[in-house]
């Protein structure tokens, strides 16, 4: 499936004249069991695509919320193989919701690119976003992905000019993740007007749907972003629900709270008609 599953998700959203909702959660936070329930709750409440975070000790592009989520997941003993097993469990009953594994290069490098890619395709992961593998460094992985149908999803940012956008687009598939602010995850929110031009440029150069993330926390912000993007990514706000559950010790509250937020976001996106 891979890439086709991602394309189908965008086609569905487009068919409903709305932007796609892309949600992020950290696998293993507050526990692997709760992450499974959260995946289902996100899907049931309208997430079109789910990014499954794989924890890393040194997440250099993440702000405090996702840093701490990763450390909690690691403290729970979450390994990359557990993240893959979680995807497999979800995929058993869900053939439609794309799963994108998001993380850093070293755990994947440690498992071996080949072994990882095969396992990822087998469990029903559709693509990956590896934050510290820019186009200059992912050629090896891309070769391995191609016959497996996995998508390499790349990032574009406010520092991306047109020449760079072409480099980012070359070999990418699925969608482009536009990072709305220069900064780490969970930082301040972006002004859609300020990035609208860049987003349009990246869409034109790449020919791919462009999803905007970083700093989008609630329905109102999501609705604003939806006006300029094909999809809206929300991450830290979901991770904060897991954090609340961890802090109160009531792990079972994580999935319902995440589901509720997904519902709010999806309703907000439904209110912004896209041509």
């Amino acid at each position: 499936m891979g890439r086709e599953r991602i394309e189908a998700a965008f086609a569905r959203a487009k068919g409903e004249s709305r932007a796609a909702l892309v949600t992020y959660l950290m696998a293993g936070d507050p526990s692997l069991e709760e992450s499974f329930k959260a995946l289902c709750a996100l899907r049931d409440n309208g997430a079109d695509i789910i990014e499954l975070g794989a924890p890393f000790t040194d997440p250099m592009a993440d702000g405090p919320a996702i840093q701490r989520a990763g450390l909690r997941a690691l403290a729970n003993g979450t390994k990359l193989t557990d993240v893959l097993a979680l995807a497999a469990r979800f995929r058993k009953d869900d053939q439609t919701t794309p799963l994108i594994l998001m993380g850093y290069a070293n755990p994947i490098h440690s498992m071996g690119y080949e072994a990882f890619a095969k396992a990822a395709a087998e469990v029903g992961i559709d693509g990956t976003i590896i934050v510290d593998l820019p186009p200059e460094e992912d050629a090896g992985l891309r070769e391995i992905y191609r016959p497996l149908g996995l998508s390499v999803i790349r990032l574009a940012t406010p520092t991306t000019d047109e020449a760079r956008a072409a480099k980012v687009a070359d070999g990418a598939s699925g969608f482009i993740y536009f990072v709305a602010v220069t900064g780490v995850t969970g930082a301040g929110s972006a002004d859609p007007a300020a990035i609208a031009g860049k987003v349009a440029m990246v869409r034109r150069v790449s020919g791919l749907p462009v999803c905007v993330g970083f700093g989008v926390k609630n329905g109102a912000q999501a609705a604003e972003m939806a006006k300029i993007a094909d999809g809206v990514v929300v991450g830290s706000a979901f991770v904060e629900k897991a954090q609340d559950a961890h802090e109160t010790g009531k792990f079972e509250t994580a999935a319902p709270a995440m589901g509720e937020l997904a519902g709010e976001l999806r309703r907000a996106l439904a209110g912004v008609a896209k041509g």
């Binding site: 890393f56 040194d58 250099m60 592009a61 690691l74 994947i108 520092t159």
Partner: protein, 403 residues
């Protein structure tokens, strides 16, 4: 192709030393490091840039540093003649300023007004704060909470120099976390900020650039030993944190096949205990902080905290050129425990009247064996890359003395 015939040509156009190095950074930083590479190439060609460096090296840093015959240490071991390359006599007390000067001059050329740096022992932070004070630039230094505590004198020095210190509590509060936080700051402040990395690691072009700036150590040492002894040394030795002082000493000797290049990593409590900082001797290849290199890591690819009595060596990685030199068999990498370094610290102080930093004490701890191996006709140079003033409190504590 025999990679060994082209020692001097690394890194390649992609910033690789064989399989190591590269540019593993978030997309936000890619345009910045590509720009940095262009600017560095231009500066390297510009005689005015070199002239400004040379002038400040001579009159501000105090270069060339002497090459000193360590007579009593030589007698003590009864082997090869041991010379010290005295980079501890530099302004601010370590080799770090060689690199800071180069990078800050480059930052000025690029019109950047705000300099950020990570620091472990505080030596790179002090050197960066010093050059920023000299040029009236804003300076922000990221330092792990644990290190802020164990390197108090340097924290105060940096504040006196006008730098802002940001204690880093994320992760485990040591050098690797300080580097993460500096990268996060750089991702956030892309317009006006220059990241001055303190060792020969990080994404390309840093490993090359830092090596080039630190190579002044080896260039001087090579000329000095030829003048003093009329021949090249049999070995050159240096301690390894990220590897900047070592690569600075090694690089000008790299094509002299008869010169052994010997690095000494920090073995902490012993490599077998798992509590050490010896990435080459006790790690495996991986990706961190922008480059592929040897790293301390778990079977699942999570980074393991380093341990060393020396805050300057307390880093789970190593510069990619060392990973390359080691895999190609051009350089050798030994290790030394906390206790051996403490013993060497005292030995050198007593015999030579030079209080070494704990970092070069690691190299001193292995110098006796190498000197004996080379025999009386042998000749070796050890990089005295820092002085021990900053360490007297932690050494006193380790020796159970109240000061």
């Amino acid at each position: 192709m025999d990679l060994r015939n082209t020692w001097d040509q690394w890194p390649d156009a992609n910033g690789r030393f064989g399989e190591f190095g590269g540019r593993y950074v978030a997309e936000t930083l890619m345009p910045l490091i590509l720009d940095l590479e262009r600017e560095y190439r231009a500066a390297k060609q510009d005689p005015a840039f070199k002239a400004e460096m040379d002038d400040l090296w001579a009159h501000y840093v105090g270069r060339p540093s002497p090459l000193y015959f360590a007579e009593r240490l030589t007698e003590h071991f009864g082997g090869a003649k041991i010379y010290f390359k005295r980079d501890e006599l530099n302004h601010t007390g370590a080799h770090k300023i060689n690199n800071c000067l180069g990078q800050v001059l480059l930052a000025r050329r690029m019109g950047k007004k705000r300099i950020i740096a990570e620091t472990g022992a505080g030596q790179h932070g002090v050197a960066t704060a010093t050059i920023c004070a000299r040029f009236g630039l804003d300076c922000v230094v990221f330092m792990g909470e644990t290190d802020v505590e164990r390197q108090k004198p340097n924290v105060f020095r940096m504040r006196l120099l006008g730098a802002q210190i940001v204690p880093v509590s994320s992760g485990t509060g040591t050098l690797k976390d300080a580097m993460n936080e500096a990268l996060r700051d750089w991702v956030t402040n892309v317009e006006d900020t220059f990241y001055c990395i303190g060792t020969a690691a990080g994404p390309h072009p840093y490993p090359e650039m830092v090596r080039d700036f630190q190579s002044i150590i080896g260039k001087e040492a090579r000329a000095q030993i030829l003048e003093r002894e009329g021949r090249l040394p049999d070995a050159v030795m240096a301690c390894i944190g990220g590897g900047s002082n070592a690569i600075g000493l090694f690089h000008p000797f790299i094509e002299d096949e008869g010169v052994r290049l010997i690095g000494v990593e920090a073995a902490g409590h012993g490599i077998e205990t798992g509590e050490h900082a010896a990435a080459l001797n006790g790690g495996k290849p991986g990706i961190l902080h922008g480059n592929r290199t040897y790293l301390l890591q778990t079977d699942d690819g999570q980074i393991i905290d380093a341990h060393s009595i020396s805050a300057g060596l307390d880093y789970p990685g190593i510069g990619p050129e060392h990973a390359f030199l080691r895999d190609m068999g051009r350089a050798e990498y030994l290790s030394c425990t906390d206790q051996e370094a403490l013993d060497a610290f005292q030995l050198c102080t007593r015999l030579e009247g030079i209080i070494p930093a704990l970092e070069p004490s690691h190299a001193i701890a292995r110098v006796g064996e190498v000197a004996k191996e080379l025999g009386k006709d042998g000749l070796l140079i050890l990089n005295m890359c820092g002085r021990g003033d900053k360490d007297v409190f932690s050494v006193a504590k380790a020796l159970g003395v109240d000061v």
